[in-house]
């Protein structure tokens, strides 16, 4: 018996040592990944700057020649210079996509929804795309449901999404085909409107459908020289839709065509929704405040649990985002105190170390949502929106 007990104890000690080692390795790995992520983002910035500088002079000298500043040109010379300028523009667009994707991942790309006429938005997009469609012999149609008037949108960004979808439709639809833009109430969610872009093009094979919105993913079966781009267009479009609080998806049949759908909410979240953010890291608090205020939430930010409780005392509260590792009052104690005052309060644990032992204590406060600090701004917004949408009556102390 004694030997068995000693054996158990030894095994437990071994397991504990092993656990500590694994946790430490994991922490090091997470730190290395975070650091690698920052390096990668800096790399994108440098690459885009270094590519755009020579492009600027190349494009400007071509324009100078085309404008006849350096003397008259023959028709052939003019044609070749136009081709060079088009190539410069293609490169510039690829660089612009890289920059946009990086800004999105670093939380720098924001949307600013204001009341927008959907009809005017679609009319402008149709006017911009019509010449290219006409040139390829494609019938471009639109159908905007008459009940839709004004919706809070970032007009420039939603136009960017639609233009991307229409450009893809243009590329993959043969001459004589049809491309249709439709806007209607979302049949599944009455608080949303649904945009769709349908084409009668080559369609997308089922194995590509799931990954088509992934960063840098391209449908390799197609001729990439026709496809163009670096595989960021749909990734960026999807990100913009998510920043609006909507979602994007695709339905397609090979040989028959594809329909890309996306939704956006008809109303912004009510401004009275109140969210508490507790984090001892000042830049994190500033980021959370900026992101959440932008989607219309009232934000109270605090550096520790004691300050947080003092600030929200007697107020209505709709959600709390709590850093796992706090100075002073621990996060599990803070969350327990918050739930005692605001029953059913949605709690989000926001951490860089989801596997720390504190998380085990925090899990006692289930239901709670875990968000890692490496998550994107869109993921943060989508999580907050989903929790607020799912929420019933408000928690009044």
């Amino acid at each position: 018996m004694t030997t068995d007990l000693q054996g158990d104890l030894t095994r437990e000690e071994e397991l504990n040592t092993r656990n500590t080692l694994l946790l430490s390795q994991q922490t090091t790995a997470i730190q290395a990944l975070n650091s690698r992520n920052i390096e990668l983002q800096n790399f994108y910035h440098t690459v885009s700057h270094e590519l755009q500088t020579p492009l600027t002079s190349a494009r400007e000298f071509v324009s100078i020649l085309l404008d006849g500043i350096a003397g008259p040109l023959t028709d052939d010379q003019r044609q070749y210079l136009h081709l060079i300028r088009e190539s410069c523009d293609q490169l510039q667009f690829c660089v612009a996509d890289l920059v946009e994707a990086t800004r999105m991942e670093t939380g720098k790309l924001g949307v600013h929804p204001v009341d927008t006429s959907v009809e005017t938005l679609v009319a402008n997009i149709m006017a911009a795309m019509a010449p290219a469609m006409l040139a390829k012999g494609i019938d471009l149609r639109s159908d905007v449901h008459p009940s839709l008037t004004r919706v809070p949108l970032d007009e420039r960004r939603i136009a960017q999404v639609c233009t991307n979808l229409l450009s893809n439709a243009l590329k993959f639809t043969p001459k004589g085909g049809t491309v249709t833009v439709r806007v209607c109430d979302d049949p599944d969610k009455p608080d949303f409107i649904r945009f769709s872009v349908s084409d009668t093009g080559i369609g997308i094979a089922p194995e590509h459908l799931e990954r088509i919105f992934d960063k840098l993913y391209q449908v390799r079966e197609t001729d990439t020289s026709i496809l163009g781009g670096v595989g960021l267009g749909l990734y960026i479009a999807n990100g913009i839709v998510r920043l609006h609080g909507g979602r994007m998806w695709v339905e397609s049949t090979v040989g028959q065509g594809s329909t890309f759908y996306f939704t956006v909410p008809k109303r912004l979240l009510p401004p009275s929704r109140h969210i508490l953010c507790v984090d001892d890291d000042e830049p994190v608090r500033t980021m959370l405040r900026a992101v959440l205020e932008r989607i219309g939430l009232k934000v109270t930010a605090a550096c520790d649990g004691e300050t947080a409780l003092e600030l929200v005392q007697g107020q209505t509260l709709d959600m709390a985002i709590v850093d796992l590792c706090l100075p002073g009052m621990s996060s599990p104690v803070l969350m327990r105190t918050l739930r005692a005052t605001w029953p059913d309060l949605p709690l989000v644990v926001y951490t860089a170390y989801p596997d720390s032992q504190l998380m085990t204590q925090a899990m006692e406060m289930t239901p709670l949502t875990l968000l890692t600090k490496t998550c994107t701004k869109e993921k943060l917004i989508a999580t907050v929106r989903a929790l607020l949408d799912a929420r019933g009556p408000r928690s009044v102390p």
Partner: protein, 147 residues
């Protein structure tokens, strides 16, 4: 003839701009770093200064601050240009009184139009299609960013 100072460390970009501006009747002088930019501005009293933001020996913002604070050049209109998409640049340029902010690569006619506007030669006309054009055909990305 109006005198324009270009402060740009990339010789090829500076030369292309100079060719374009000279062809349109302007006199152009160039400086390839921040320090030379300030010296030339003080010495030649240009009617307009076009500043790249990333420069050796300082930044375009440093040059702008000196130009704004030195008696001979105070009130000289400034145009900033950059290939960087880092946030906050437009705000800083605007704080320094920039009359225009150009992103590289330039769009057709953009440089000349901003120069004419800065020199008070043409009235400002808002572009009704600005929100939609120009558009990246692959992602729909617009190349102009709202300040």
């Amino acid at each position: 003839m109006k005198l324009i100072l270009i402060v740009e460390d990339d010789r090829k970009i500076a030369l292309a701009m100079a060719v374009r501006l000279k062809a349109n009747g302007y006199e152009v002088i160039m400086a390839l770093d921040a320090m030379a930019g300030v010296e030339m501005a003080v010495k030649h009293h240009p009617d307009l200064v076009i500043l790249d933001i990333s420069l050796p020996a300082g930044s375009g913002f440093d040059v702008a601050e000196k130009i704004r604070n030195l008696a001979p050049t105070v009130g000289t209109p400034l145009i900033f240009m950059t290939a960087s998409r880092k946030p906050g640049l437009v705000t800083r340029a605007s704080e320094l009184g920039a009359v225009a902010f150009i992103r590289k690569p330039f769009k057709d006619g953009e440089l000349l139009s901003d120069v004419r506007h800065a020199l008070g030669e043409v009235p400002t006309v808002p572009d009704p299609a600005e929100s939609l054009t120009p558009v990246n055909p692959t992602s729909g990305t617009t190349t102009q960013e709202k300040p």
